[in-house]
Structure formats: C-alpha cells, structure tokens
Amino acid sequence: MSDSAGPAVLAEGLSKSFGTFTAVDRLDLAIAPGEVVGFIGPNGAGKSTTIRMLSALLRPTAGRARVAGFDVVREANQVRAHIGYMSQTFSLYGSLTVAENLRFFAGIYRVPPAMFEARRRFAIAMAGLEGREDALVSTLAGGWKQRLALGCAILHRPPVLFLDEPTSGVEPEARRLFWELIHRLAAERVTILVSTHYMDEAEYCNRIALIDRSRLVALGSPGTLRRRELGGTLLALPCAPLGAALAALRDAPGVAEAAIFGDRLHVLLAAGGLSADDLPAFLTARGVSSGAARPIDASLEDVFVHLVAGHAAAARA
C-alpha cells in the first residue's frame, strides 16, 4: 500500500473523454516517492485533466491510476486524504484572513489540535507571511497567495502533491522561491507532480513529462531528453543572410530541422546526410556566407519544439 516501495503515482492507460473529444489519451506514468515530475505541454494538451483524474476530481473514462497506493476511483476518499492539491485557479477564500484560511483547511484535513500550532507557524513562515496573519487573502500579491495555497495544501502532510501551474502569473523572484519550497518538500520524500508553462522551471525537475494533444510524447530527465529525444546532432551555424540560409537548408540532405536563433541558425543533423564540416561549403555554394558549425547542447525548449513538431506531423500523417 502507501508505504510499500512501489511508485507513489501510477497511471496505466489513463484516459478521459468529454463527449467525443479525448482530453487525455492512454497515459502511462509512474512516479517514484520523492520524485519531482514536471508536467509540460501547450494549452489544452490535457495537463489539468490528468492532474484532476489523479486527484480523484474527474472520473477516468478508461485506464486506471493509483495514488499513494489507492485507486483513484474505488478508493477516492483515501486518495484525497493522502494528497495535497493546488488547482490551476487560485482557490483560497479571499474574504478570509491568512490565519482563517489555515484554520479552515486544518479543520477540513483534521489536523490534530496538538500539531496545528506548529504547522500553522510553519506554513506562515514558508509563505513569508509572518506578521500578516490577519490580512485578508484577497489583499495579498500573487507570490504570497500561491505560497500560502501550498501551505494550506500540505497542512496534513500528504505524501503526494499535485500542483497545477502554481507559478503562472507570478513574478520570477517569487517563482524561484516557490521552487525552493518544492525541493524542500521533495527532500522530505514528498512526491510532486507539477505542471508549468515555464521552460526554465522544467530544468528544476527530476523528470519531465511532455504532453501534447492529449498524448504523453516524452518522459525523462532533462538531461536524457536533451540528449536522446532530438535524434541527431544540434549545431549552431553563424551565417548571413539568415533567411536565404534557412531556405537553402530546408531541402539539404540530412538536415532534419533548421530554425533561426538570434543571429545564427540552429541546425539539427540526422545521420547519413551532410556532416557538420560540409555545411559552410554547402551554403557558400548557394550564395550564403557562413562560419564554422559548432555542436551545442540542446535547450529543453529545442527539445519541446522538436517533439511537438514531430508529434504534429505524426498526427497529420
């Protein structure tokens, strides 16, 4: 059960349809205790729907999932007792104060009275709201609100946390603080699935799950994804004019992808065509002046652009 060595979150063929529209399509995912998994994907990809199924808020139309060892359909209330959830929209009570919100959720989660005071202080410190316990929550700025919401969601010390875009609309400094909290929790072996639109945040995760058009298209550590998922060598190629170079490379043998990045091109070379050394000559022959091609590490953004483009092409085919 929840304390066994099994995964903290396990989804098998998890699917959700709204009428004829499939929002999540046969998703498989296993998350180990203490792992931080980032959930990345374009708008409408199905991130929230997946998180809601795992939080027992939506009933899957196919497949199954276990969270903290409990089945999300048959043992929904056990799941609810073992998770902390932050929904995509801010959902504390704005007309209640910081202290009143904490007291309410402590009551709802049945935090033993003996422990409440310590946890309340912890949550307030975590949110950086010392001295503002009596402020109405509606008067707080975004970063404080979100940290307080996290504080409320962990009052019962759940082993699993589902955070749906907890940092959207929050300034960069507050986002950094929030991720510090996430890692502190992970260090306590709390399992965390967190969705985000920010690519830089993906780097903070142990693993990344990329979801696009209701399908899970990639799953792995940031390093693995960068190395493996591109399926070729990424090169930076200084050249001018960029537009002509791009047009020329589009049809070149072995060039899988080419895109403008600032004053240079990023070119993805597949095996069996042009090599990195061939590129300057190839371009010069077509009236483009070019420097030497230099292999670079792909950013996660490169990887996602590549994966989503590939997934789109596959979907069209």
Partner: protein
C-alpha cells in the same frame, strides 16, 4: 524561515467517510465569516426581513379608497337613503349603482361592477323605531381578500357612525339611551370566501413568505459562490464528505433563519398586534422545521445551478411563486379550484401558514396540528435526502 519543522506524515484516520464534527464546524465557521464579510449576503440576512415585513405587512393594509359599493335598498325610505348616503360621504366607498333585486346584486358582483353590496332590509326604519336596532347586511366579493378585509373595516366604521347618530336621535325621541348597544348591526356576508377574518389572518402568511424567501435566497448562494470563485475545486479535493458540506453549510443559515424568524414573529405580535394565543414550543419547533425545508431547497438549487445569479433567481421562483399563489397567504385555499387545491398540498409554505395562523389565532398546539406538521416533516425529509444526494465530489 529559519528552522524547517517537517513533521512525519500523520496517517489520516481510516474511518470510512465517518462524519467528523470538526470538519462540519470548520465549514460552518468559515461560512459565517464569509456571510459576515459579504455585503450582499448580509443584506439578505438582516435587511430583507425588515424591508419585506414593512412592504408586505403594510401592503395588506394599504389605504384603499372609493371601493365600489352597490346598494340594494329594499325599503327606500328617507332613513334608508340617508344610511346609504353615509357610506359614500365618508369617502371610503363609491356608490356605483342602486339595485332592485338579489339577482341584480349577483350580476353586478359577477361583472365586478362593485365588490360590495349593502342590503338594507325592507323593515329597516320600522325595526329601528320599534326596537331601537336593525340588522344591515353587506355582501362582499372576497376574491381579493386584501381589499375585502379593508372594506369590511371601513364598513364597520361607517356603521358605527350611523349607529351613533341613530342612537342620539332615538335618545332624543324616547327620552333615554337605547337599551341595546349599537343601533345598527352590521352583518358582513362574505361571498366566495366565507369566514374571512381580519388582517390578522394575513400577517402570519407574510411571515411565512419572508422566511421562505430569505432562507432559500441565503442558501442558494452558498455552493454556487464556491463554484464561481473556484474554491469548490479545492474543497472537493479534500476528504470532506457531502454530508459535512451540507450540514456545515446549513447550520449557520439555520441560526440566521431563527434570528430572522424571531424578528418577524415579534413584529407580527407587537408591531402588527396580531394576537398570540399559542405556545412558544410549538412555534419554535414548527418554525425550525419550516426553516430546514426552505434552507435545504435553497441548498439543493445551489448545488444544481452553479452560478450565484442563476441559483438566486431559481430560488426566488420556487419560493415566491408557490408561497404567494398557493400558500393561502392571499388566496384562501378553500376557495380555490380542486386541482389547484391538490397542488397546494405539495407546497410546503401552505403547511406553515396553516400552522402559524392556528398557533397565533386559535392557540393550537402540536397535537392539534398533526396534519400540517407531518406535512412539513415529510417535506424536510425528502428535500434533505435530495440535497444530500445532489452534491458530488467530482467535477464531471
């Protein structure tokens, strides 16, 4: 934050969906804070009963003038014509026709040419002269019970005036006061609405309408507000049970409802001076029952209609429409067509209006009200059952 006090995860108790008083009270307390800080809810809870009590309470006693009155003067003597004239002179009645037969009276009332007809008997002045008193009949069409009530009051006033004058004349002629108090006995006969009482009859109905209105309005906002503000998604992600949500949300409004009921009933008793002949326990128990019904109806609507505006409008519809039309607050049930009478059995305010009138005016206790009380109990059970089942901890 200096020290991280990350306590080991406490294992939530395994009790399967057992009701937790702590969770229930957490919701109730939060709800009170929300109402207290929400001007709209606060206005409904505290101002609406006051305003409605004034509006509806005085609405029934609006100053109505020139009530069309027909006269069927069977005697047609100088005295009888003078009496008929008195009704018009006071300004309360407008003489619309002099009629010559019972048949004509019926027809005039059917045509709504008049809503009252004074019938002066053929031996009016003879009886006055010989015995010092005579009956005077006024027939009222009580389709509009409010107007009729008021018109009866006016008629009584006019007749008292006439009596006084006749008494003075009789005393002068006979050299002593009349032996009987009141020279002219008014016999108000109320058609279509036999046995109509005074406006005491209406005020208890007003109280029922206000409680239904306010109660359902308050709870109609409670769940829809959480859906609208997004807090519901958070709430249902916790182990809270549907029963705790319902009970926790109804409890504070029940207390507010009792407060409003006390206000309205005290106003009925002391401001509108409706006599109270019943006992307090019966009043409290039946009022609590009625509140449970209306609060649960509002809650049920709130669960079903997820917007505050929509929920409050539906609540208005299902409370105002049946209470005003069918509860017998304006239209006495006995006078309704049979199918509508059957329908009104389904309408909860009917029971409470019946109970309130009986407790106030007749002094009935629980035992004497077993029918309507059981009606309310049945209603409460059904509505609570529906409300308890309506709430699901799922988004789909």
């Amino acid at each position: 934050m200096s020290s991280c006090i990350w306590l080991p995860a406490t294992r939530p108790r395994r009790g399967r969906d057992a009701v937790s008083p702590g969770r229930l009270l957490a919701i109730a307390f939060k709800e009170i804070l929300q109402v207290w800080r929400d001007p709209r809810s606060l206005a409904i809870a505290l101002l609406m009963p006051l305003m409605q009590m004034v509006m509806l309470g005085y609405g029934v006693s609006l100053d109505i003038r020139h009530v069309p009155l027909c006269v069927f003067d069977q005697e047609n003597s100088q005295t009888s014509r003078a009496v008929a004239q008195r009704f018009v002179a006071a300004g309360w009645f407008a003489a619309s026709a002099r009629l010559g037969s019972d048949q004509a009276v019926h027809e005039a009332m059917d045509r709504a040419a008049c809503i009252g007809a004074a019938v002066i008997p053929a031996d009016f002045s003879r009886r006055l002269d010989s015995t010092g008193g005579s009956p005077l009949q006024i027939v009222f069409d009580a389709t509009d019970a409010n107007t009729t009530n008021i018109a009866i009051g006016y008629a009584q006033g006019v007749v008292a005036l006439i009596s006084n004058q006749l008494e003075a004349r009789w005393a002068a002629a006979h050299g002593g006061p009349a032996t009987r108090a009141g020279m002219v006995d008014l016999e108000p006969r109320v058609w279509f609405n036999e046995g109509l009482e005074s406006r005491y009859f209406i005020i208890p109905g007003v109280v029922a309408v206000i409680l239904a209105l306010v109660g359902a309005q308050l709870t109609s906002l409670t769940v829809s507000r959480e859906w609208e503000r997004g807090t519901m998604e958070q709430l249902i992600s916790t182990p809270v049970t549907p029963f705790e949500v319902m009970a926790g949300k109804l409890l504070p409004y029940f207390l507010i409802g009792i407060f409003d009921a006390a206000f309205c009933l005290l106003a009925a008793r002391f401001w509108f001076a409706v006599p109270f002949r019943g006992d307090f326990a019966t009043l409290l128990i039946t009022t609590a029952l009625f509140l449970i019904v209306v609060l649960a109806i509002g809650y049920l609507i709130s669960v079903r209609v997820r917007s505050q505006l929509g929920a409050s409008q539906v609540a208005l519809l299902v409370t105002m429409l049946p209470t005003t039309l069918l509860s017998g607050y304006t239209f006495p049930i006995d006078q309704m067509p049979a199918p509508i009478r059957a329908l009104s059995l389904m309408v909860y305010p009917r029971y409470f209006v019946t109970i309130l009138r009986a407790v106030f005016l007749k002094g009935s206790g629980l035992a004497g009200l077993i029918g309507p009380v059981l009606g309310l109990v049945a209603y409460a059970v059904v509505v609570l059952w529906l409300a308890g089942r309506a709430f699901h901890k799922r988004l789909d």
